[in-house]
């Protein structure tokens, strides 16, 4: 039987600074291992009255002072000469600490903290103090390691409760911190690894969808990074494998050329793993609201879009001027509009300005906005190509789906975000996604869900996830630099909140008033790898250290796997076909596509990608078809219809 550890301090309570049920004060020796954030235990072995009560607290403030009555006395003692200030005797001094109560045992009746001896909390105490014992030692444990509590020389794992991190009790995680320290992204990467390793079997299958919105941050999650021995020790303590994610699927839209992927993961060794993300009219039209701002959408335009969506898209449709349309692409839609406008001009002799109760100005406006989408989001939205999308209804367990939209137009980013999240929500609701819970990681919440500014579709979406996602298993992991500038319902609904190093100006905002000055000071100087965590089970914020993520950091990845230069159209086509079938001979492909319309080639390539035939080249040649002169009538049609008015010139 080992001897109990010696106490490191004693609780003191005076009339001016009494103990309360939520706070107490204690002193320690000048040389003490504890500091701000340390967890201590009061009682449990002391002879003092009330010591049968055990109280756990976290140090939130520290004071040091001596018996010097006034600084002037020190001046007098040193004869006014600072060089004489080395006195033979050290003044009596105190290390006086304030601690916030984490837990009292017994919990009832809730009483002021008794006088007693103070001990450094050991691993078991940390588990008790943070109420982790309930979900750590239950029949169906739901503990997810978040880091190590390392204050006071300890090395105790700290766990989050999966029921409160990923639903259904509470959900969502918000992480704040200054940029440039790689803390936010690293923390989320580590936490995802931890979730994948510890997500309880009884809760089902879990996956993550990460939007890479800046640089190469999330582009190398499948590559091993450099870990120190200390990091590996931490992984061992937390029982998380120190290895990169085994299953990662990367998605990126094309650049405007339609063949080079718009991502920094273009190194020849890695580009093969990146799936193109391209959407056509069908995928986009449901999210027209994302792309059209409030000024665009009035009741008339809204009604016309609804009409197109309900009556036209994907159906055989007679335009009333003798032409039957089947609109499935932007190109089809453009043909429909031209047919209608021609019909009104030619057939009706210009006397009518309405079609199916819709005014021609409304139709012109909607036509301009919709067709403009494929221009602004070229590479993501194709005029007439088929789509290449995430594996809806076939999400795999413990897989990370990275969607790289870092270099996409902001409008396109909004579209990607809105559609992906909507589909996730829709399929989780029907329990047909393939997994039971999805973590959606969104960085830069300052941008996507700001506290002020207009109500964008994306903001509404984030609010919706925050408020209702936990019932569905749709969990938002959001990150931002300035928490105070994120919509408070998005932040407020995050059950778990993590803080990295914070800016002092940010800490001065009202949201941080609950923190002591010492805690704020610690937050402002947190080293890389240390975080402050708030979780529903923790009554006070706790500081933890987490290991460097087991994956290659973005900037290291770019150095190890420098992005390849964009290649000419022909070479890009060859590369994609070779990736699908290594037997494809480049010269054959180049000869085949020489002098062919690039759109035709893109369509054929997309068909090959979608079909994945055994003989990629043969299928590609078949889909591309023989060389046919362009339809002269169609060319004339394009020449006849004059360009439509620009937005600014519209009288509407």
């Amino acid at each position: 039987m080992t001897a109990p550890p010696p106490p490191i301090g004693r609780v003191v309570a005076t009339e001016l600074k009494p103990s309360t049920p939520h706070e107490f004060h204690f002193w320690t020796a000048t040389e003490t291992p504890i500091g701000i954030g340390a967890i201590v235990k009061v009682g449990g072995g002391s002879w003092e009255p009330g010591a049968e009560r055990v109280v756990y607290g976290v140090v939130t403030e520290g004071f040091a002072y001596s018996d010097l009555a006034t600084p002037l006395h020190d001046v007098v003692g040193a004869d006014g000469d600072p060089t004489n200030a080395d006195a033979p005797t050290m003044r009596q001094q105190i290390r006086y600490w304030t601690a916030a109560v984490l837990r009292q045992i017994p919990e009832e009746p809730l009483q002021p903290v008794p006088l007693g001896q103070v001990y450094v909390a050991d691993d078991a105490d940390v588990a008790q103090a943070l109420r982790m014992d309930a979900f750590l030692n239950s029949a169906t444990p739901t503990a997810i390691p978040v880091g190590l509590y390392t204050s006071a020389g300890r090395d105790a794992p700290v766990y989050l409760d999966a029921d409160f991190l990923l639903g259904p009790e509470a959900a969502h995680l918000n992480i704040s911190g200054v940029s440039g320290l790689a803390t936010k992204t690293s923390a989320v990467e580590f936490l995802l690894a931890s979730i994948f390793a510890h997500f309880p079997a009884h809760k089902g299958r879990v996956a993550a969808v990460c939007f890479n919105v800046k640089g190469p941050d999330l582009c190398f999650l499948d590559q091993a990074g450099n870990l120190s021995d200390e990091d590996r020790h931490r992984y061992d303590r937390l029982k998380v494998p120190a290895e990169p994610f085994k299953r990662v699927q990367f998605y990126a839209p094309y650049k405007s050329d339609g063949v080079n992927l718009n991502t920094l993961r273009t190194h020849l060794d890695l580009i093969g793993d990146v799936e193109p993300l391209t959407w056509g009219l069908q995928e986009v039209v449901d999210f027209a609201e994302v792309l059209l701002n409030r000024d665009d959408i009035d009741a008339k335009a809204d009604a016309f879009i609804d009409f197109l969506r309900d009556r036209v898209l994907g159906r055989t449709f007679d335009d009333g001027f003798g032409t039957t349309h089947r609109v499935t692409t932007f190109a089809d839609l453009d043909r429909l509009f031209r047919s209608i406008f021609d019909g009104l001009e030619i057939t009706a002799g210009g006397r009518s300005d309405t079609w199916r109760t819709h005014h021609i100005a409304t139709m012109r406006k909607v036509r301009n906005r919709l067709l403009n989408i494929s221009t602004r989001c070229k590479g993501l939205v194709t005029d007439d190509g088929p789509s290449s999308d995430l594996p809806w209804k076939a999400f795999e367990d413990r897989t990370v789906y990275v969607i790289d939209i870092a270099n996409v137009d902001p409008l396109g980013q909004d579209l990607v975000f809105a559609r992906v999240v909507s589909k996730l929500r829709e399929q989780l609701e029907r329990r047909e996604l393939g997994v039971d819970a999805v973590v959606v990681f969104v960085d830069e919440l300052n941008k996507y869900a700001p506290g002020d500014g207009p109500d964008t579709y994306v903001k509404k979406m984030l609010l919706d996830i925050s408020e209702r996602g936990r019932y569905l298993g749709l969990v938002l992991f959001g990150a931002e630099q300035f928490r105070s500038q994120v919509h408070r319902r998005v932040v407020g609904n995050a059950g778990t909140q993590i803080f990295g190093r914070m800016d002092m100006d940010e800490l001065a905002t009202p949201g941080y008033q609950v923190l002591s000055p010492a805690t704020k000071s610690k937050l402002a100087t947190l080293p890389i790898g240390e975080l402050m965590v708030r979780h529903p089970h923790f009554t006070q914020p706790i500081f933890v250290r987490f290991p460097r993520p087991p994956v290659l950091r973005g900037r290291d990845g770019v150095e190890r796997f420098p992005p390849a230069e964009d290649v000419p159209f022909e070479d890009a086509v060859v590369r994609q076909l070779v990736r699908l079938d290594r037997r494809v001979r480049p010269n054959q492909v180049k000869d085949l596509i020489a002098e062919r319309e690039q759109d035709d080639v893109r369509r054929a390539l997309a068909a090959v990608r979608r079909t994945r035939p055994d003989d990629a080249f043969a299928y590609f040649r078949k889909v591309l078809g023989g060389r046919v002169e362009r339809d002269a009538a169609l060319r004339r049609e394009h020449e006849v219809v004059p360009p439509l008015n620009t937005i600014s010139d519209e009288p509407y």
Binding site: T14, E15, L16, T30, D67, L68, A69, T70, H73, D74, V76, G77, A78, N84, A85, A87, P88, T89, M90, R91, Q92
Partner: protein
């Protein structure tokens, strides 16, 4: 009372060398406290409860003081012969340690309490002496023991080569005439010639000198004035400057908020604070304490 000058033909003021000159020796410090209060009456007989304590604090290489030893005594003082049998029985049941006092002054309550004060002071001095005798046995080879008060109370203490007594109160004057004037008007950072002290209360001869820690001008003649006692040995005369330099160095840190900070060396103040912190709460430091509770701490 006689005084023999041991240094100089006439008592002189000597400037003490710069305080950085002598190395600060390894040292321990001894001080004591005494408290008492009237706890009961048997007719006009005042029964007193008292507490005396002394402690020695050693100073480590970093300058931090650590308590090395202590002695304490909690007891009653009463003129047992004048007490009724019942009250005496009660007293004996309550206190295992009773110090009998003279009953002559019982009917003069004020003088009786002065006698009590004096008795407690003597008992405190006895405890301090006892502790000092223990402490010097445990002193390191180079370590000094500084006592608050007279060294000459104990022959063993007075004869030790590395003990010093620092006397703050100057009830007894050892000098007269021009020598007294020089002593009482010593400039700051000066000491007097060393002289021999014998007779009076002293049981043992010691060498002594006055030392001014702080300028007295603007205050009073005794401001910052210490009388030092050390072993009666020629070595003491030779080391008087060095020892005075050490004591001057001990001016910092100053012993505020003690009111006697001009003469109270900080380490001795620290020992006093330590003893006060451990003294029984029911025996107040000041006899004329307020009867209302203190409102804040």
């Amino acid at each position: 009372m006689t005084v023999d000058l041991l240094e100089d033909a006439e008592l002189q003021a000597h400037a003490v060398p710069e305080r950085s000159a002598p190395p600060i020796p390894e040292a321990s410090f001894l001080n004591g406290i005494g408290r008492w209060k009237v706890v009961s009456y048997d007719g006009v007989v005042q029964v007193v409860e008292a507490y005396v304590a002394a402690a020695v604090c050693g100073r480590d290489a970093k300058g931090v003081l650590h308590t090395k030893a202590g002695l304490q005594r909690r007891f009653a003082l009463a003129p047992l012969a004048r007490m009724s049998p019942g009250a005496r029985q009660q007293l004996e049941q309550r206190f295992s340690d009773i110090e009998p006092v003279d009953a002559d002054l019982v009917e003069q309550p004020a003088r009786y309490l002065e006698m009590i004060e004096s008795t407690v002071r003597k008992i405190r001095a006895h405890v301090e002496r006892e502790l000092a005798e223990d402490a010097i046995r445990d002193l390191g080879d180079e370590e000094w023991l500084m006592l608050d008060g007279r060294l000459s109370r104990s022959p063993a203490n007075a004869r030790h080569p590395r003990t010093l007594g620092a006397i703050k109160s100057h009830g007894a004057q050892f000098l007269e005439g021009r020598g007294l004037e020089r002593a009482l008007t010593l400039p700051a950072g000066h000491r007097t010639s060393v002289f021999l002290v014998r007779g009076g209360h002293t049981r043992t001869e010691v060498y002594s000198w006055y030392l001014r820690l702080w300028p007295w001008e603007g205050n009073d003649l005794l401001y910052g004035l210490l009388r030092i006692e050390a072993r009666a040995d020629p070595e003491t005369i030779r080391r008087a400057d060095a020892l005075s330099g050490w004591l001057l160095a001990e001016r910092a840190p100053i012993a505020t908020p003690a009111t006697r900070w001009d003469r109270l060396l900080y380490p001795l103040h620290h020992v006093e604070e330590y003893l006060n912190a451990r003294a029984p709460r029911d025996l107040p430091l000041h006899r004329a304490s307020a009867r209302l509770p203190r409102l804040a701490s």
